[in-house]
């Protein structure tokens, strides 16, 4: 099928098999390999990207479902002038990544949520619930929670007990 994926503001004119999932097409056809596959069943969240501004698991969507709709991936997070996104700065400052494989998924999950709902950063329970959607095996999560608060301009704090 001929489709156009609009990724990070750029059009990709593609001819893809209908069965191909978005993550594979982003990685192999668009050569945007920042989106990683951790489980391919929608559980781990490593492949999270923004579709119409909302976080989605790109392993659970077919690329053809996304024809013409705006997609944002980790490659589109920094400013066009190269200035890092506040989340990128905060993740580094809080040591919220070690191996970095799951990191793009966290960044896009948090970016989508903070953009659509900035008050999320003032509600520890809701923020923790949001961050409960992804898996990380290195950091122990607390640094990720702190980084999201920091990126939102709040003082870093521990997750709610």
């Amino acid at each position: 099928m001929r489709i156009t994926l609009v990724v990070n503001g750029r059009d990709y004119l593609l001819d893809v098999e209908p069965r191909r999932v978005l993550a594979d097409v982003l990685r192999e056809d668009c050569h945007l390999t920042g989106t990683h596959l951790g489980c391919e069943l929608g559980v781990c969240g490593a492949c999270t990207v923004l579709l119409d501004g909302e976080a989605v698991r790109s392993c659970l969507l077919l690329a053809v479902q996304c024809d013409g709709r705006p997609i944002r991936t980790v490659e589109g997070l920094a400013s066009p002038d190269g200035r890092p996104h506040p989340l990128q700065e905060a993740f580094s400052a809080e040591h919220a990544l070690q191996c970095g494989f799951c990191t793009p998924g966290w960044l896009m999950l948090a970016a989508g949520a903070l953009e659509s709902d900035p008050a999320l950063a003032d509600d520890p329970e809701r923020l923790a619930a949001l961050l409960g959607s992804n898996l990380c095996r290195c950091t122990g999560y607390t640094p990720i929670y702190r980084a999201v608060l920091r990126a939102a301009g709040r003082p870093p704090a521990e997750p709610p007990a």
């Binding site: 069943l41 580094s92 191996c99 494989f101 290195c138």
Partner: protein, 811 residues
Amino acid sequence: MSFAYTRREDERLLTGQGRFVADIDVPGCLSAVFVRSPVAHGRLRSVDCSPAASVPGVVGAWSAVHLTGLPACAQTAADLPDLPPIPPVLLASLSTREAVAGREWPTLATDRVRYPGEAIAVVVAEDRYQAEDGAAAVGVVIDPLPAAVTTAAALDGTVTLFEGMSNVAFEFEAGHPIDEEVWRSAAVVVEARYRQQVLLPSPMECRAFLAVPRGDALTVWCSHQMPHRLRRELAEVLGWPPGRIRVIVPDSGGAFGSKSAIFPEYVVTATLAVALGRPVRWIEDRMESLLAATRGRGQDQRVRLAAGADGRLLAYELAIDADVGAYPHLGAALPTQTARMATGPYLTPRVHATVRSVLTNTMMTYPYRGAGRPEAASALERTMDELARRLGLDPAELRRRNFIPPERFPYDTPTGRRYDSGNYAAALDLALETLGYERWRRERDRRRADPAALPLGIGLACYVERSGGEPGGLHEFGGVEACPDGTVVARCGSAAGGQSHETTFSSLVADTLGLDPARVRLIEGDTGEVPEGVGSFASRSAQIAGAALQRAARTLIDQARQRAAALWELPVHKVSWSRGTLRAESDPPAAADLGELVKETGPLRVDDRFEGAMAFPFGTHAAVVEVDVDLGTVRVLRLVAVDDCGVAINPVAVHGQALGSAVQGIGQALYEGVPFDDAGVPVLPNGLLDYLLPTIAEVPPVDIAATTTPTPVTPLGAKGAGESGCIGTPPAIVNAVADALRLADPGLLQMPLTPDVVWRAARASENARRAAAAREPGRAENAQRSGHGAHGTSGGADRSRHGADRTGRGR
């Protein structure tokens, strides 16, 4: 740009510019997909690959036809030469030739399958989708055989994995047998059985292997912990000199021990790349990983611990039946690590540990974060808490009375380890202080008097572990080269999987040389760039590779001074080094930057092989939990992890790894386990929805703290770090739950402490208390305490394997 990333690794990983194996785009690369055994044990009757050949995009499909004379498979491109069996892991004595002899692990199954997920055939296609289509078309006929998936089942003799051979592949003992008189005359003897359940290491990136042939050479990209070893092993199976193979470890999405071996999929993929003359990659998916990647732990343990009335330990006995999986290649001798560490941090005069490594119809056990030490600490520390309960002693006080004191180091244990240094009481004291131990004890006692309150428990675990590796693997390559532009290249034989080596080692070399870290660049994980190396495992990189780089940097300073002295025709002692500049107290004074010296005198490069020694990090973990006995849920209210890894080169990285490790420890204690069906196949149909890795919702308030006792075995003073949480945290949490339930029988609590396990233990404990109260009103507590007698034995070691009704998490 004004922003400075904390770690050198961060910018690329945060912007999507990281380069993991699956990200590497090689034109014309084929994808390999494996056909795997759906059964745990069976006779392989036939494999029909021909339907796969007609699937669009499929280049070829192969089984082990050349090895066994099975019906031929499609071979559209080339014959698959006879595949050699997988070489055993002899390094660090993880296996032995004797254990393997007669029990070869075929690269593709020949006439028998011995674990679910064993590779039977491979399909290679232009892309992954087509390869999976092809794999689905391959016909496999297997006559199932009864399977043994527990050590008990494998030991009862009804299932034999290798005809005419024992299911016990390896036996070992540490220390000497203890005279029965010791047990008879002791004031208290605690006996118990524990199961260290099978765990799946589960790095976020599964295994990944890309082989690119060019001419008579092969370049391999692999997410791997030991690139030089992988090169040697690939050379062995291909029958090539190692020099024709280059192994590169790009960014690696975690390993936790699971990525240091050579696996059947690697052998097949490399062989096919060479045979087809085309790049081939195998990118494992998660469902495959849950079935066919190595597992950790897997021990059934029996213990006896004897003490005097004053709490002084007299003797400890640990008998291990280790579930090592279907082939003894990877970790048949890994449980020796547990046996050797059985002594723990105590002065116990008599310690005896025995190991039987039992073959079962499961994928193989291999090092997983902690690798034998968690199993030792868990058995001993759970028993210590029970001993304290029997003696009516504060568990902290019992431990304090028995610690090896700082002045006794180096200390030779009865199980054959020489501990380098330690101050165990300091770590315990800091843990108790950080926790607020006395305050929590008061709260626990208050709740015991209040029938409406949820019971609360406190658990301690004092551990000592080993870092650096085993003899024969205690060395590492470290090199430092000065470049004409004034920069310095450091090379080391390790390979990072998220441990911040680029940041840490560059800073270490820069600090040693007195340079701005921006002038130093690290190269590792590439056999084409680093002449030799061992790798990243056994908490060895900081301790051994760090010491290697520090020495190489110091040698570089010496050589630079000698060069400058020769250039200036001065004695060496007249030439000083300061922050990358050489100066001479001569008339007139001479000075040269390191880069200028290289330009003037030629390349300056130090390649060094550092021989280290084992070190023994230690610490105390403490947990406070609240248990809902009606629901069986456990809520961890507080976790304190005090670790001593000697000199921390990068305290931020150590802190991060300690936290991540503790959360993996929480996973073992409460959530992670592999249930099996009656036919011996793991029941994980929904992947990571069934195998419950902790999420942020399961992370309690955690305090990470440290004491610092340098190791005397290297000038750097660093011991290993990063595995502590998997060692100290699980027994601390389980002890806390046992304390909350006032459990008389430690065997009732086997990990993971799912609601089902906890609910049953709470009921049993409550029933025992009621029965005791009915017998002797008013003396319920005392009666319950002695209910099992001084020599009582706990049962239920296998319960966790089948009883995991994982209906909910602890919050």
